[in-house]
């Protein structure tokens, strides 16, 4: 089963136009984040180098802020933090989901009751208000604080899904045979169960990353981040405070927002493509051909939850 997946998966992904679009966007942002120096000649994006509020020109592609910073350079240097938040918060939240969801399913009994209760409580408590309260009181929105808050509020959805899938796998033949072989429970979980759940885990990571990108940008936009950091959300905060839309520098606001939207879209597109690959019935078709499939994962709802805050 594992082999089958790893062989069939990536080619399928390569053939999927949505996945490729998302992957290309992600790749471009990754390059920019890794080597910002290649994309702009400005070395300190927060330096007050130029006359304030310039319109876009050859020297300043997107103009300058009302303080005289180059907007394009800020955009380039802001990529790194936004991407780090997405990947790190997404990864940690996913790890937490796996740990809690899969252990709940395999330990069973009281552990399962307690862990799923915890998961359900976290799922129901409105996350974005909680994030606002938490990050406000953490004093200042340093990167670590923001990551911690996002992970703490972002794992429960995935844990719930993973627990459900792990439960359904529990009595499958190949696990039964492993148990008969006398393997330890830890071994079974790591080497037999997790690989079969790869697709769901990756999908969860993508969902958690999307959630983190949007929430972090929203927090920084509200002024709950560090206003001296370089990130898209911080740019949005400054431009909103300086009323960029009204004072004739709309790009100061629109450009970083567009980048957040693109990064979010990249994660969402890849995630959706995963759904299509995992569920062939959903693949785009030219004819009315129908394929029989029994299960549909409702992954679209993840997006809804991230946004409905």
């Amino acid at each position: 089963m594992r082999k089958h997946r790893s062989n069939g998966f990536w080619p399928a992904l390569r053939g999927n136009r949505k996945a490729m679009t998302g992957a290309v966007i992600l790749l471009v942002f990754t390059l920019v984040a890794a080597f910002p120096g290649l994309f702009t000649s400005v070395r300190d994006p927060n330096a007050l180098l130029s006359p304030p509020s310039l319109q876009p020109s050859g020297a300043h592609w997107l103009g300058t802020t009302s303080l005289g910073q180059d907007i394009y350079a800020q955009l380039v240097y802001g990529t790194r933090q936004s991407l780090i938040i997405a990947v790190v918060a997404g990864a940690f939240a996913t790890v937490l989901s796996v740990l809690i969801g899969v252990s709940a399913a395999y330990l069973g009994g009281v552990f399962d009751d307690l862990l799923s209760m915890l998961t359900n409580v976290m799922l129901v408590i409105p996350a974005f208000p909680l994030i606002i309260i938490l990050s406000k009181y953490a004093g200042k929105g340093s990167l670590t604080v923001m990551l911690a808050v996002l992970v703490a509020t972002g794992w429960s959805y995935g844990a719930n899904q993973l627990r459900a899938q792990a439960l359904s796998l529990r009595n499958r033949d190949f696990l039964e045979s492993a148990r008969v072989r006398g393997e330890r429970r830890g071994y079974i979980i790591v080497f037999e169960v997790l690989p079969t759940m790869t697709s769901l885990i990756v999908a969860n990571f993508l969902g958690a990353a999307l959630y983190s990108v949007l929430s972090a940008a929203g927090l920084q936009f509200l002024g709950l981040g560090d206003p001296n950091s370089s990130s898209w959300g911080t740019m949005l905060y400054w431009s909103q405070n300086q009323q960029a839309l009204l004072t004739g520098s709309p790009l100061w606001s629109l450009a970083p927002g567009l980048c957040v939207a693109l990064l979010g879209a990249a994660f969402a597109l890849i995630n959706y493509a995963f759904d299509e690959i995992g569920n062939p019935a959903l693949r785009p078709v030219r004819t009315n051909a129908r394929t029989r499939v029994k299960t549909v994962k409702k992954r679209g709802q993840r997006v809804q939850r991230a946004e409905s805050q």
């Binding site: 409580v121 606002i132 606001s253 927002g257 567009l258 969402a268 019935a281």
Partner: protein, 329 residues
């Protein structure tokens, strides 16, 4: 019965967890309402007077924390929600919330229902006409719209419809300030105008999820045997589409819909913030900014209760509709 008790237990436990979080988070963090208020009054008021003033509003920082906690739990449950110690110093929390609640329910509530209904309809058609022109464009478009940041869509809409057009549509406030609120056509028009852009923002960003899930559910359902059976029996396409396929495809979405109704009253904080729409989300943002413990606590409790009630209602409906769930309990 056992199922119901379990759910009720869950309800109480979650409520308690939320209340407890809510009580302890602000109190373990630096800062105090006294300092916040001192700043808001431009330092004109002596610290001693401020402290006494806050005490007369029911803020007692010197009491034992555990006593405060017990009193707080009691007050929350019995509806003694106290007086605001934030911007509206001295105003009852219930009054403040009462003023904001209708705006959020109206804007976010109606838009949520609208997004669900519209999204489901479009999703049904898209799923039915699989591979058609509509189905070719819709999924990628809505995958993207559902990943857009709320506040950015709001900014773009304000830019286009308010700034560029010289104030064609208002991008701020709940109604024109110069109108005295009352049952008059001018007031109603003004309220609707002011709701247009925030509602559009919500709709654009939330409809995609419903369309996509409905489309996918439709496609799966259409592959079921009973649909083939219907076709074989020669039922009209219309009948199959709405009477059989859509009816079944919508079921998994209902619980999601219930949840999102629960999230209505926590509103769309970012949207209310961008549009200065004075609903509950806007209120929460301000309460947090002003260290207004009483208001913050009650809002967060209400947000949680709303979701819990929605979940509970959904559970009850499931039990009522589906005998299997009862047996499982």
């Amino acid at each position: 019965m056992r199922f119901l008790l379990r759910r009720l237990g869950f309800f109480l436990l979650t409520l308690w967890a939320a209340l407890t979080l809510n009580f302890f988070i602000p109190r373990f963090m630096p800062g105090s309402p006294e300092l916040a208020l001192r700043d808001r009054t431009r330092g004109k008021v002596s610290p001693a007077a401020l402290e006494q003033m806050l005490a007369s509003f029911g803020f007692k920082p010197h009491q034992n924390l555990f006593d405060q906690y017990l009193a707080y739990l009691g007050d929350m449950v019995t509806g003694h929600w106290g007086l605001s110690i934030g911007q509206n110093l001295g105003e009852p929390v219930t009054t403040i919330i009462g003023q904001a609640l209708p705006w959020t329910l109206g804007l976010v509530g109606l838009t949520t229902v609208m997004a669900f209904v519209l999204g489901t309809l479009i999703g049904t058609v898209a799923g039915w006409r699989r591979g058609g022109r509509l189905d070719g464009i819709l999924p990628p478009v809505f995958v993207v719209t559902s990943a857009l940041p709320y506040f950015w869509v709001a900014l773009v809409l304000i830019m286009v419809f308010s700034v560029w057009t010289g104030g064609w549509l208002p991008g701020d406030n709940t109604y024109d300030n110069t109108i005295i609120p009352g049952p008059s056509p001018g007031f109603v028009t003004s309220v609707l105008q002011h709701a247009l852009l925030p509602a559009a923002t919500l709709l654009i960003t939330s409809i995609g999820g419903w369309i996509l899930t409905m489309r996918n559910n439709m496609i799966t359902t259409l592959a079921e045997d009973y649909i083939r059976m219907g076709r074989a029996k020669g039922l009209s396409n219309r009948r199959i589409m709405y009477g059989y396929a859509a009816r079944n495809a919508i079921l998994p979405n209902l619980s999601g819909f219930a949840m999102s109704l629960g999230f209505v009253i926590s509103g769309a904080i970012l949207i209310e913030y961008v549009f200065n729409y004075q609903g509950l989300g806007y209120l929460l943002y301000n309460a947090v900014q002003n260290v207004d413990y009483p208001l913050m606590q009650v809002l967060f409790m209400l947000f949680t209760v709303a979701v819990l009630v929605a979940v509970l209602a959904c559970d009850l409906a499931t039990v009522w509709l589906d005998p299997r769930a009862r047996a499982k309990g």
